[in-house]
């Protein structure tokens, strides 16, 4: 029998006209270093928002121009940590109200992070029940369309 791993051969390497990952979305114009610094700056801003218990403001800050694409892993990690701090410190009764105040853009990015969190069980202080609680409330407000956008978007956070 022939090599059973033939399905794993990357046939695109022989195709001059292959469609590459980088053509599927617009690359972040920012420098990775700059993205990292912005993520750190947002972490500080979020802490002060949380101190004023302004959860909606904290979420908007944390999810603004979220890092995506390759080479910004550290910034992505910091943003996820920042976000988890907010999610974990919100009372479950407040979630609905907070989600409604977010802009549609922010809602879409929040959904991406909820899925990112659910894809990393046991990482940091991720709690499945917290994420699911937010997921339920966010879907009620933004609809299943918000989930569809998370799944189609190649600008992965």
């Amino acid at each position: 029998m022939a090599d059973i791993n033939f399905r794993k051969i990357d046939i695109d390497q022989w195709d001059e006209d292959a469609l590459h990952e980088s053509e599927l979305y617009e690359v972040d114009p920012r420098d990775p270093q700059q993205v990292l610094e912005e993520a750190k700056a947002r972490q500080v801003a979020v802490r002060s928002s949380l101190a004023r218990s302004d959860i909606s403001g904290a979420l908007t800050t944390a999810l603004e121009s979220a890092p995506y694409g390759p080479n910004v892993e550290e910034a992505k990690t910091i943003t996820l940590q920042t976000l988890l701090t907010i999610l974990n410190s919100t009372k479950s009764t407040e979630i609905s109200g907070v989600v409604k105040t977010l802009s549609p853009d922010t809602q879409d990015v929040l959904m991406k992070y909820l899925y990112k969190g659910m894809a990393m069980p046991g990482w940091g202080d991720i709690s499945g029940s917290v994420l699911l609680g937010w997921h339920e409330k966010l879907t009620e407000v933004a609809g299943v369309g918000c989930i569809v956008r998370t799944m189609t978007d190649r600008r992965i956070v």
Binding site: L19, E23, L24, E140, G143, V144, V148, R149, T152
Partner: protein, 390 residues
């Protein structure tokens, strides 16, 4: 006026195209054949089967003035069908002419140009074949639009000037091309899309907002505005003069087909099983309701929870069985509460009055063909994404 519903088949309807006076319709029931159906009272009866393709038919279009049908298929061919007298019986029958598309992947979508002297075939070969009739050799020849398409082209729409062509493709972009054929077209007058238009000029390129495949494109009746719907559950309206793009994010599942009904409104439908109406102007666009009000008010009051409206009653049945041990509560009522019972695959203008489309036709995976009054818009209150869920 209640929508007219015709259950044509148990199988999905891939696509449909009416003739000029709407007495006949060409449909494909998800197979290699196209059927010509004739209206007999409130029924549709098959009068002829167009069997020439070797693989699934993907798209059909019927030219209203020249009374010709064009079919596109996964067998990489397109046929132009014309009604000719059969030499033996003397009856009028549809005769096919093969079109040399020169594509090496499936043909996905076909549309006649407004003057009916050309048609465009979208394909999986990252190309659009623009076909025109070569009278000298008595056949249809194709010229391909290739650059800069990077993936399968899923839909196309002609500009009213017979030259510009919009295309939506799986590389998550909607584009506007010039499909100017020197032998066929007169030099077009300048439009908002540009003035010098040699073949394959890219007059516009627009990304879908969150990177979804562009399923549907359409020029407004004037041709000055472009709408496209993509798989990220959004519909975008492009004003090239602006340059501004208005995007409406839907709380529901993605749209796959759209039709302009006037310069200020679009009917679009897809995986959510009901036609939605969007309206606006160069000041902004929003969802203004749905044409499907038949029984959906029941949905809001039923109060069942579940992931999405589509399966909410079926979901509730299982949920009851799980949590309360009830096995037969509402078993009979597991149907979606929309007129179409599955994804709508095609929306087309049906009837016009006072320069606006007054009725639209839709066909879907449920095998139904439905004709809607385009002005019977009911509000979506209580049925937006949030309310559907609880």
């Amino acid at each position: 006026m209640a929508p007219e519903v015709y259950a044509l088949s148990q199988n999905p309807i891939t696509c449909h195209a009416f003739n000029a006076d709407r007495s006949q319709v060409a449909v494909s029931f998800n197979n290699n054949d196209a059927q010509i159906l004739e209206r007999r009272g409130s029924e549709w009866a098959t009068t002829e089967t167009l069997a020439e393709h070797d693989k699934l038919i993907t798209s059909i279009d019927w030219a209203p003035n020249s009374n010709r049908i064009v079919t596109a298929s996964q067998d990489r061919n397109a046929y132009v069908w014309e009604q000719k007298q059969d030499p033996e019986t003397g009856k009028l029958v549809w005769k096919p002419t093969l079109v040399l598309l020169r594509i090496n992947r499936a043909a996905t979508y076909v549309r006649w140009s407004p003057k009916e002297d050309k048609f465009a075939v979208a394909s999986g070969a990252r190309a659009i074949a623009i076909c025109s009739f070569d009278a000298e050799n008595n056949w249809w020849v194709a010229k391909q639009l290739k650059k800069p398409i990077r993936a399968t082209v899923l839909s196309i729409d002609w500009h009213p000037n017979n030259v510009l062509l919009a295309a939506g493709s799986a590389d998550r972009k909607a584009r506007v091309f010039s499909a100017y054929i020197k032998e066929v077209d007169e030099r077009p007058s300048p439009t908002v899309w540009g003035s010098k238009l040699p073949f394959n000029t890219v007059c516009g390129e627009y990304n879908s907002p969150s990177g979804g495949w562009v399923h549907a494109v359409g020029f407004s009746p004037s041709g000055d505005v472009l709408a496209f719907a993509s798989h990220d559950s959004t519909i975008s309206i492009v004003y090239p003069g602006g340059p501004s793009i208005y995007t409406v994010r839907l709380p529901s599942l993605p749209l796959v087909s759209l039709a302009w009904t006037s310069e200020y409104s679009v009917v679009a439908a897809g995986h959510d099983c009901r036609p939605l109406v969007f309206s606006g102007s160069d000041q902004g666009w929003q969802e203004s309701g749905t044409l499907d009000d038949a029984s959906s008010s029941k949905a809001a009051s039923s109060g069942f929870g579940g992931p999405g409206r589509l399966k909410s009653n079926a979901f509730a049945t299982f949920q009851n069985a799980d949590s309360r041990g009830q096995s037969s509560g509402n078993v009979a009522d597991t149907k979606p509460n929309t007129v179409h019972q599955n994804t709508i695959t095609s929306v087309r203008p049906y009837d016009a009055a006072n320069g606006e489309v007054s009725r639209v036709s839709t066909s879907g995976v449920d095998g139904n063909l439905v004709i809607w009054d385009a002005n019977a818009i009911s509000a979506l209150t209580g049925r937006l994404g949030g309310a559907q869920l609880r």
